[in-house]
Symmetry: C2
Subunit: 388 residues, 2 copies
């Protein structure tokens, strides 16, 4: 396992990167008053700075069942590392009988699968909360679906001889930075059971091409059904632990908590959500939609991480009444499905809304579920439309 | 020439797009008080919404001489249109002897060139202004360089028999929306002289691949040296006019003006700018850099649209003193060039800065040049660093 106290590996030291030691950083500024919350509707400069780095999927791209590569949403916790593929290797260690050290070619020689996976950021919907947690300020655009190609993690763990005492598997990326005052490589873990599922992949290709730098080149984890923070990019090490992993991204972030002091519950699988392709044409500055009166085919996509989507409903009267949408088959067992609903648009202003319900009865809330970190807010999307 | 009063072409009517008539839209909301300016440092929701759609290039990607495709900065005025390549054609008309109607294959059968071009958004730097014009809130990340492949525009205009009376050439994209209260397709023009330059391209490939949807698939204009608004995406029509073109994007936007009423001067070529790869590692929320004491190789890139970059200077003391950086050759005659400067980093807080000067003596200002639309703000970049 990579020790965050070690120097930053040379390959992450993008031109002038240099190692720093943990706990030696004084004077780091905070966002706003440092409470992690914005007192009002307006946004801090630091939130905008994150939005300019981390991209959303423009909602009209919901038209594509498979998101074109450059349109996939993006969260980069630290910097995109500068990795030389010839120097790259993946290590598998900790509680295993046969530690492994593999090149990309070694991995690509293993059995491979290609599958369309819907990934969504756990913070999607954060900026719809009041007060607003100050982090990446997603409205609803932090979701996409692409085809990943890679080899199942399970086979690799079996080859390494995963010890029966192992309870957590830790995944370490090559991106380094400071968060919560701690110098760290990005690290997330999965329980042994989740890691041994058949559908967890070590992926080297996205839509049939090598991973772009910003999506984890040359190798990333892909964990279908879970929010995206679990699918560790720039993956360099896999370690099996005898005790639960307590890294920052497990215990300090990605928690459903009510305050800074509340440990809360861990964020895991995606809650159900449906989104609509905004109809008509946009106003540049406000993105308000302008639609000509008459029949309008509303369309979009819906997904969830725990159970399949069974129902999508549309409201054209600000949530007063709901009507069933038609559903397309899912793009894959772990990807979104399309929906459509014909709307007879009458002149005037309208607020459209859409909500999804899973086969086990979980449905999107009409009011946002507030948490201190703004995780898993799957409140129904609303779209303001002027019909002319 | 496309008439904005005509219905939206079917191919732009992404699932539910519908035509609307000009001047029939009532009740469009405004951003803030509608003045186009923010009264203070904090940001409106609409600005954040634009930042989430329009992506910046993460500054660590300055390491790449050719920006990987999915990292190129992005401005989409309206929606990404949904274009079926089989239905696509480019028309060339207006004051020409032989109007043309060409398929993509027709264009690709013509002589082609590939060239690396640095493009920058004219609004880059807007969010560094006080008061702040409320539009896409760029800090400094609205710039990239890729290799475009296409056929010179000049040959096509010659084949069409451009009339000697033509003074402006209008380029129309397939993206429709509302801006300044007007329904419009995105349209920009070039003077006859600029349009007939050898290096203006009709491009169908980016870094050797077909254009991605968000970058203008299947065809876009690429005008080296000019700010990016000129390089019209989703190009469908080229028309020669006997009089200056007065479309919204020429007279209502992209102006160096001092107030909403001031017509100002048109925005044309890129002003000089240098940017630095932020050294060390980032703090997640604030992007403050943490660097270990010792020699740090500061690096970055510089460009300009009117003359070549002749000098880049670095300041490590908040602009009090400046030292010359070493320069690499330009990536192409119309692309940025690399620079490097070794810094002996001593513990404490530092503000780094970098500025570029062209061969004709134009240098970056130390205070932002304010304009009502926030155009061409090439104030020197500053980077806050904590050395440990």
């Amino acid at each position: 396992m990579v020790d965050p106290r070690e120097p930053i590996p040379a390959q992450t030291s993008a031109p002038p990167g240099r190692p720093v030691d943990r706990d030696t950083i004084e004077g780091l500024p905070t966002v706003g008053d440092g409470s992690g919350l914005s007192p009002d509707e307006r946004f801090y400069r630091e939130e905008v700075q994150l939005a300019l780095r981390n991209r959303g999927m423009p909602l009209e791209a919901l038209r594509y069942p498979i998101t074109p590569t450059g349109l996939h949403y993006l969260v980069i916790h630290f910097d995109i590392p500068n990795i030389t593929p010839d120097d790259f290797h993946l290590t598998v260690g900790g509680l295993v009988a046969n530690p492994l050290r593999l090149t990309l070619a070694d991995l690509q020689a293993r059995p491979s699968v290609t599958v369309a996976v819907t990934l969504e950021c756990a913070g999607n919907g954060r900026a719809l909360l009041t007060p607003r947690p100050t982090s990446q300020p997603w409205l609803v655009e932090g979701v996409s679906t692409v085809e990943w190609t890679g080899t199942p993690l399970r086979g690799l763990l079996e080859e390494a001889g995963l010890d029966t005492r192992a309870v957590d598997i830790v995944f370490t990326g090559l991106d380094w930075g400071v968060q919560g005052g701690m110098v760290q490589a990005y690290q997330r873990s999965l329980s042994r059971e989740e890691a041994m599922r058949d559908d967890v992949l070590l992926a080297w290709a996205m839509n049939g091409e090598p991973l772009p730098p910003q999506h984890g080149f040359p190798l990333r984890l892909v964990v279908p059904g879970w929010y995206g923070m679990t699918s560790v990019k720039w993956l360099t090490d896999i370690s099996a632990l005898a005790e639960p992993f307590t890294g920052y991204q497990m215990v300090g972030s990605y928690r459903y908590s009510q305050s800074a002091d509340d440990p809360g519950e861990p964020v895991t699988r995606m809650r159900p959500r449906a989104l609509m392709i905004p109809p008509g044409i946009p106003d540049f500055a406000t993105r308000t939609r302008v639609v000509k009166a008459g029949r309008v085919a509303l369309q979009g996509r819906a997904w969830a991480g725990r159970a399949t989507i069974e129902r999508v409903e549309v409201s054209t009267d600000q949530g007063a009444t709901w009507a069933e949408a038609e559903l397309d088959p899912a793009v894959s067992p772990v990807a979104w499905r399309g929906w459509r609903y014909d709307w007879d648009a009458r002149p005037g202003r309208h607020t459209l809304a859409v909500r999804a319900t899973t086969a086990d009865g979980e449905t999107q809330p009409l009011t946002p579920p507030w948490t201190h970190q703004g995780m898993g807010n799957n409140v129904v999307q609303t779209v303001d439309v002027i019909v002319v």
